[in-house]
């Protein structure tokens, strides 16, 4: 056991995991996080708290994770390298571990230009793969990046993202292999809409034996309308939404229901793809739909542990 979190136990025992995502508020209300925790508590195994997602300032991921944990939900603390240098990242890791947080997700972070402080200086002292490396060193060698000893254990279950739909496509599996080499334990992918492309990616992953070395959770984002689907296709970096899905939503009488139906079909298909060990539901601002989706996907009861 690396951190002994429920997510780790579920994945290591070969069971199918379900994780979800919750964005902390643009304010100081603990109740917002707690409410999201209440909604998600009985439909997933762990919940990611985003870290200034899309470069918009929100309550810190660390505080969000602590609040979530208090509601009885296992948190996954997202960490981006955009806003903090190696000193701040390491100190936040120590703080998070001291508060009982065990799951982490290493990300580059959306560029600050996309957010609400576009004139900010981007830090990018280390990159997301190097963050994985740093966490592994802290955990396995009990050392800071500079080699100094850390007092106390640093149990961490280390996660990272992967985007099978970005370019160059042929390099995406190699980049995943680099993350594995750096020491990642689990992966949550960008939202899957193009299932055949994702299947091709997973085939390459399995050919290289990476499915045996890392647990991959396929990302899904429920869509509420044709407009949202078009927006994701055109403006969300690295997401590819096939025209067929947009047409279905445009022609549907009840777009929301059709959206859920589409995602359920996708979940059903990705569950069958070799090497997929779970799903990660990113219901951005639509957390209410998650219990219904997980129920209909036949993935209840949750959490398994």
């Amino acid at each position: 056991m690396k951190a002994g979190t429920n997510l780790e136990k579920i994945l290591d025992s070969g069971r199918f995991a379900v994780t979800a995502e919750a964005g902390p508020p643009k304010g100081t209300s603990a109740a917002v996080v707690q409410r999201k925790g209440e909604i998600l508590r009985n439909c997933c195994d762990a919940v990611n708290i985003t870290d200034n997602q899309t470069a918009i300032v929100r309550m810190s991921s660390l505080a969000g994770c602590v609040l979530l944990k208090q509601t009885g939900v296992e948190p996954v603390m997202q960490m981006v390298v955009r806003d903090r240098n190696r000193l701040a990242l390491q100190s936040d890791i120590l703080g998070a571990v001291s508060m009982g947080i065990g799951n982490f997700l290493c990300l580059s972070g959306d560029h600050q230009q996309f957010g609400n402080h576009p004139t900010a200086k981007g830090v990018f002292d280390i990159d997301s793969i190097q963050l994985i490396q740093m966490m592994k060193k802290m955990r396995d060698e009990k050392q800071f990046l500079n080699g100094e000893e850390i007092s106390g254990d640093v149990p961490m279950y280390i996660g990272a993202a992967a985007n099978p739909f970005a370019d160059p496509f042929e390099y995406r599996v190699k980049r995943l292999a680099k993350k594995v080499k750096a020491g990642v334990d689990f992966i949550q992918t960008q939202a899957v809409y193009d299932v055949p492309k994702f299947a091709r990616y997973m085939e390459m992953v399995c050919e290289q034996g990476l499915d045996k070395r890392v647990h991959i959770l396929a990302g899904v984002i429920p869509i509420r309308s044709a407009g949202m689907a078009r927006y994701m296709r055109d403006y969300v970096s690295g997401v590819s939404v096939p025209d067929e899905i947009i047409t279905r939503l445009e022609q549907a009488e009840k777009a929301k229901e059709e959206g859920v139906k589409i995602i359920l079909e996708i979940i059903e298909q990705v569950e069958e793809i070799p090497g997929v060990h779970g799903i990660h539901i990113m219901a951005v601002g639509w957390e209410d739909i998650v219990p219904e989706m997980v129920e209909k996907a036949g993935l209840m009861p949750r959490p398994i542990l």
Binding site: G109, Q113, G122, F124, S128, P168, K178
Partner: protein, 237 residues
């Protein structure tokens, strides 16, 4: 290689000049002439604009290369007109501005008329791209001679982020993804395996993060600061 500059808005320049009435304008015959931001034509244009704003231009000159130490003599030769001004409006890059300020004999403010952007490589006629961060610890040998520190919006050292689509960076369709460029060039050379190694965490202490950088250059033997005593000794032998 050119230092790429852009003119500041006139409002900002006038605000900077403040109550100064007499202004002496200095342009540069090298980079800012080529950028059309601080050559003779722009100096004359600036003179007109300042006069229209009620300033008195006591004189002007275009120094061939303002960042050169010969600037000292150019300032001496024009000392009279400079003395008649309350301040200098400098139209070279920031290095030229500071060279002027450094060599100026009298206690007079020097204001920049330009913003200095980057050291540009001319990719196609008139199209300049930023290619070097001057980090002091070159990685080009491992990145197909394309610098990801400055050409990738996130300075990533380990390949393209999830925002690389159709060869473009997520921040703009006009910006190529540096890592796609690196990938393509390595692929052409049959060296793609080089992108499988994890690039170690960077030592930023050789960059501006490590504090202001100063070197001593000996006219004959090159840079002499930073060497250990034994190295210096063996160099002498």
């Amino acid at each position: 290689m050119k230092t790429i500059t852009a003119q500041k808005p006139l409002e900002e320049i006038l605000q900077c000049l403040g109550k100064s009435q007499g202004v002496y304008i200095i342009g540069c015959g090298t980079c800012t002439t080529l950028c059309h931001t601080g050559g003779k034509a722009e100096v004359m244009e600036m003179k007109e604009k300042l006069e229209a704003a009620g300033k008195k231009v006591t004189g002007w000159m275009v120094i061939p290369t303002a960042c050169d130490e010969l600037t000292k003599y150019a300032l001496q030769e024009n000392a009279e007109d400079i003395a008649a001004a309350d301040c200098i409006l400098a139209m070279p890059c920031a290095i030229g501005v500071q060279t002027i300020s450094f060599h100026l004999q009298e206690d007079k403010p020097v204001y920049p008329a330009l913003n200095t952007l980057f050291l540009g490589l001319e990719e196609s006629p008139g199209h300049f791209i930023e290619t070097c961060l001057q980090c002091g610890n070159c990685v080009l040998g491992r990145t197909a001679a394309i610098c990801p520190l400055v050409r990738c919006a996130k300075s990533l050292l380990n390949g393209p982020c999830g925002g690389s689509v159709d060869g473009k960076c997520e921040i703009s369709p006009d910006i190529p993804c540096a890592w796609q460029l690196i990938y393509d060039r390595l692929a052409e050379m049959g060296r793609l395996d080089e992108m499988e190694e994890v690039e170690p965490i960077k030592d930023w202490s050789s960059s501006v993060s490590g504090g202001p950088r100063i070197v001593d250059v000996d006219a004959e033997s090159g840079i002499i600061s930073g060497k250990t005593e034994s190295e210096a000794e063996s160099a002498q032998n």
